[in-house]
């Protein structure tokens, strides 16, 4: 039997298409418990590779032969070793190319739809971490919303489309991932927009993204309009594209709502968050299609892998939008919150330009699950 490599894009398609897959995760138990490759029809076995150095006989009965088997480790090396041992035992298995490191950084581009005047919207789904970022195409120009630091993947995609990405928007100063906004703007000669209220400590120049600001770009005259919706951070700003799509950043997700504590101000910002969710969004056109900066569960992905929903529908189903009592709301968003994201303070400093970690350190800072929602 030969050992095959499965790359992150192939694995993404298995996740999106809800295919069955057996994952033999050979990282140590803590790493597996904290974070793994999620799939609705995936099943798992976690045995650390160091327990398999002398052979895989002990686990052969637990590794099925009626479905695809993928061996996963942190960086790839150990999974190749274990996959080869399984192969020598007559099994047909694959290993994950680049391991969890590559999985955590892979962006799967999914087309959301066409804009009525010829533009297009793509959602980049970071399945390993739940981050969503967006590319909006207008003629031969592009804009990005909440781009990640993984700018090579956006560059390659923009090149394929034959566009130049010139307008980078961050809906807020991120605490869970390192922004690619400034680096993309620097490399393309474009503009980086950031809400000024989040930028008190920022060390570089940027274009302030203020309430009511309108940016029109490209051959299809796509319009991006900013609406101030604080609460996750004091600067959090939503973006409405062509009065059709509402980019909510980390304020409103499909199943949940943003947490107000990642910049250390949970108590102060609870009322802002409530005002944004229960007043400002409610005043908007309820047919707007919400596209957030994160998803939490794979069930939020539709059959094409897209994460979006009609605003009016979220008022019926999103648990964070059903809390009429203000005290109860305060408790929901300030008590019993999940642990804060890995290295969130260092990530914020990086996004302010105060520290400049090298690429390996950046990867390390973003390891682990995303935790920007209240639940």
């Amino acid at each position: 039997m030969t050992v095959k490599a499965m790359n992150a894009s192939e694995l993404s398609k298995k996740v999106i298409n809800k295919e069955p897959l057996f994952i033999l995760d050979v990282r140590n138990e803590d790493a597996f418990t904290d974070w793994k490759v999620d799939g609705e029809n995936f099943s798992y076995l976690n045995v650390p590779y160091f327990d398999l150095i002398d052979g895989v006989e002990d686990i052969l009965d637990d590794v099925p032969q009626d479905r695809d088997v993928l061996v996963v480790c942190a960086k790839e090396g150990s999974s190749i070793m274990v996959a080869e041992l399984l192969s020598e035992a007559g099994r047909d298995v694959s290993y994950l190319e680049g391991g969890m490191k590559t999985w955590s950084e892979h962006l799967e581009p999914v087309k959301v739809g066409d804009l009525d005047n010829g533009g297009e919207i793509y959602q980049f789904v970071r399945l390993g971490k739940g981050c969503l970022s967006y590319m909006i195409v207008s003629g031969d120009e592009g804009a990005m919303i909440d781009p990640l630091r993984l700018v090579d993947q956006y560059d390659a995609f923009a090149k394929k489309l034959g566009i130049k990405v010139l307008h980078m928007f961050d809906t807020h100063l991120h605490a869970d991932h390192i922004s690619g906004g400034r680096r993309l703007a620097e490399s393309t000669g474009g503009t980086y927009y950031l809400p000024p209220k989040d930028a008190d400590e920022v060390t570089f120049s940027f274009e302030p993204l203020e309430d009511g600001k309108v940016v029109t770009f490209g051959g299809a005259d796509v319009t991006v309009r900013a609406v101030y919706t604080p609460g996750h951070t004091i600067g959090s700003t939503s973006l409405i594209v062509n009065e059709t799509y509402l980019f909510t950043g980390d304020i409103l997700f499909l199943d949940s709502i943003g947490r107000p504590d990642l910049a250390g101000k949970a108590e102060d910002w609870v009322s802002d968050l409530r005002e944004s969710l229960y007043v400002r969004y409610k005043e908007m056109d309820q047919d707007l299609l919400v596209m957030p900066a994160h998803f939490a569960k794979l069930s939020e992905l539709d059959e094409k892998g897209r994460v979006l929903a009609r605003l009016g529908d979220l008022y019926k189903v999103n648990t964070g939008l059903q809390v009429e009592d203000e005290d109860e709301f305060r408790r929901l968003v300030s008590e019993n919150l999940p642990p804060q994201p890995n290295s969130y303070q260092e990530i914020r400093k990086t996004n302010m330009g105060k520290i400049s970690p090298d690429p390996a350190e950046e990867t390390e800072m973003e390891i682990g699950p995303n935790r920007c929602a209240v639940s």
Binding site: A31, F50, I53, E364
Partner: protein, 75 residues
């Protein structure tokens, strides 16, 4: 710190530091200490988990100039 045997696993990527550590441990007696030097940043969590699973004692570890050193006392 005293070591009965020193394993130089510098420059090796996962899984080799652990594979070599396991072999080196076979060569020392119970109660003796193995010193492992590695440059693999993932080694700390893996060696810790491996030592714990095998009942060995991770007595100390240091990091200096990108070299991680561990002292493991054999069960």
């Amino acid at each position: 710190m005293h070591a009965d045997k020193v394993l130089d696993a510098k420059g090796l990527a996962c899984p080799m530091p652990i594979v070599k550590t396991k072999k080196a441990m076979d060569d020392i007696a119970s109660g003796e200490v193995l010193e492992v030097q590695t440059t693999d940043s993932g080694a700390k969590s893996d060696l810790t988990a491996w030592a714990k699973a095998g009942g060995h004692e991770l007595r100390a570890d240091t990091e200096e100039n990108g070299v991680y050193t561990f002292w493991i006392r054999k069960k």
